[in-house]
Amino acid sequence: MKQCIACGMPMERPSDFAMADPSKDYCVHCARPDGSMQSYDEKAASMAAFLTKTQGFDPSAALASAKAMMARLPAWQGRA
C-alpha cells in the first residue's frame, strides 16, 4: 500500500490519491485544486490547522508539531 509522500496518509482507494490518480505519490489532501502538490508552507499550515481542529492545539504548537512530522516524510527531506 502506498503512503502519501507529503503527509504519510495510507492511500488505498483511487479517491485517496490526488486527482483520483493512483500513479500519484501524494494524496487528495495534499493536492492543490489544479492537482499539483502543495508547497512546504501550504502543507505545514494545513497540517497545523488539522491538529488545531481535531485536538484544539495552540496554533504555534500545532505548527511546530506539523513541521516535526513533515521532517520525517520523503517529500520534505532536508526542509525542516
Binding site: 504519510g8 495510507p10 488539522f50 491538529l51 488545531t52 481542529k53 481535531t54 485536538q55 484544539g56 508539531s65 516535526a68 512530522m69 520525517r72
Partner: protein, 197 residues
Amino acid sequence: MSRREQKSQTRSLILQAALRLYARTGIGATRSSEVADEAGCAHGTVFLHFRSQEELLAAVIEDFGMRIAARLHELATRGAGLRSVLEAHLQGLAENEDFYARLVSESPTLPRQARITLTMIQSTISQHFEEALAAMSTAGPRPALHLMFNTWIGLIHHYVVNRDSFAPGQSVLLQKGPELLDFYVGLIGHAAGRGES
C-alpha cells in the same frame, strides 16, 4: 520466503517484542538489547531496521495506532455510527491496554519523535470521530470537535492511568468501557441537542 518477506517478518517481530516489553517493564526502562533478546535476533539486527531507539518507539506507536485508526476509518466510512466507532476504539486500546497505560503515563517524558507520532494518531482518530458524528442528525449546533474528542480521551485516560483503583487485576477498558460509553454517548447527545441511542 523472499528476502523482502523475511525482512518484513523480522521487522514485525521486533515491533511486537518491543511492544510487549514496553508494556511489561515500561517504555523508558526498556533497552534495545532486551528487545533483541525478546525478538530472538541479534542486537545489531534491531538497528538494521530502526536507526535508533527513538525510531523504534515511534514505529511501535505508529503500528499500534494506525491499526486502531484503520478500524475506525472503515467503520466511519460505512456509516456505522458514533457508538460503534467508540466501541472499536475501546476494543483496540484494550487489546494492548498495558502498553497504552505506559504510553499515557510516560507521554510527557517520551522523545519528541514518539510524542509527535502519538499526536498524529490522536488527530487521525479524532477525524474519524467527526466522520461518525457527521452521520448523526442533530437539532442544534454541535460543540467543537476538539472538545468532544478531548472529553472522550480525557475520560479514558483517567481510567487507564488509575486502573489499579477502578479494575484491579483486570482490563479497565473492558470492565468499565460499557459504562463510559453509555455516559459519553448520552453526554454528546445532550450537547448536540438530542439523545442518541
